[in-house]
Subunit: 237 residues, 2 copies
Amino acid sequence: MNQGGHSRQSFGRKARTLLSLLSLMKMSSGSGEIVTSTGALAEILGVSQQTGSILLRELASAGLIMRRMSRRGERITLTPKAYDVVTQELAGIPLDSLSKASRTSPLKITGRAFTGKGEGAYYISQRAYSKQIEDKLGFAPYLGTLNLRVTKLDDINKLTLIYGTTPIVLKGFSTRERAFGDVQCYRVKVEGVSNAALVRSNRTAYDLTVVELISDKYLRKALSIKDGDGVSFSFPA
Amino acid sequence: MNQGGHSRQSFGRKARTLLSLLSLMKMSSGSGEIVTSTGALAEILGVSQQTGSILLRELASAGLIMRRMSRRGERITLTPKAYDVVTQELAGIPLDSLSKASRTSPLKITGRAFTGKGEGAYYISQRAYSKQIEDKLGFAPYLGTLNLRVTKLDDINKLTLIYGTTPIVLKGFSTRERAFGDVQCYRVKVEGVSNAALVRSNRTAYDLTVVELISDKYLRKALSIKDGDGVSFSFPA
DNA sequence: ATTACTAAGTGACGAGTAT
DNA sequence: TATACTCGTCACTTAGTAA
């Protein structure tokens, strides 16, 4: 029942649908599949869990997504129709003019600190990595990472902009125990600290909401950061 | 007052802003400037003139557009900030996957017939053009064009999709009086009539809301079209 | 003709809550 | 935990109209 008969708030409706789809597409990283919950999605979109629920229901009933619910969260699949809708809305937008549009101010991103499983520290502690960091980033890294969770959609958008730039790449290597893949680094400034970088490995790249930062300082101490604190960094550094 | 403090409907707000900007960008055809009125813009967006007015005021106060008002209509200029906003929202969207997303059904576009200034007929009457039409499109054109005005945003979006495909090009030429530029043709089916094409020249390309159709038949007569009638065509033909 | 104010109707949003 | 319902509140939209 998708005829032209505009009910009343069709513009706002369409706008919300488009922004929801764009967000889902970003989260899916091209795969067209997202595993999330109405609450998590809602937080990213900046709306309540209830509204997140309604948005997903609308998208589903419009045939734009498929939902597979399970006990803990659900699997959302974007349908071809969703891509059609976005394609139509974006058709005619000169994307070149977007990229040439001057990035005026640095990107500032805020996340909340949390304690990871120590895997980041394990990575950085590998000599082959830390040596490359000294060579390519110019500082000897503290042997640990500061983990941030980014939830605001605006910030996630900025992250994808950063990931779209050319990274400094730490080459992967193999020990007799296991293989370590390439790591992408982006120079950032963390609350005024310049010798810092955002690091992104295959291990974490799948989750757009998690950011790992390294620095020559023990950032938690230098900046007095506790779990749950808001931490901002800017790019370019 | 554009701080992070999400007031209440920031999601819907952002969504409307984004869709408005996208529409304006499409209308500007990359130049970043649009000459329109709140009423005309509103019709394209599918909202009332009042809402169109409010949208423009919001965009202006957010620093996303500049408005130069004059007696009849106004000149709108998109600011760099507008491109930044759109860039951010579109960052991370794999645009390639959009174009490869299967166009399933043909595009159907509806416009309202109107009487032009006869320039289209003047063009078609040029032997150099009509000869090429016979050769490349396979029919001898009726020496006139059917003009349609397209106002619905969805239809304009579809038009830009059509313009994104590879056209059949009628080569330009010069008479001793003046020069005629290249003309892009797209095969369409007009209300079931197959020998038809949408023609686009430098003369009309600036206005996305105007469509010129040619056919081997006198379409106004064959389909009993009067000014103001709704006429639909589909692509691919 | 245009833009935009006011008032009123309606839809969207979120807190509380059921499941 | 999760999703989604009810309902009160507020924002968006539009008709009428002023300028």
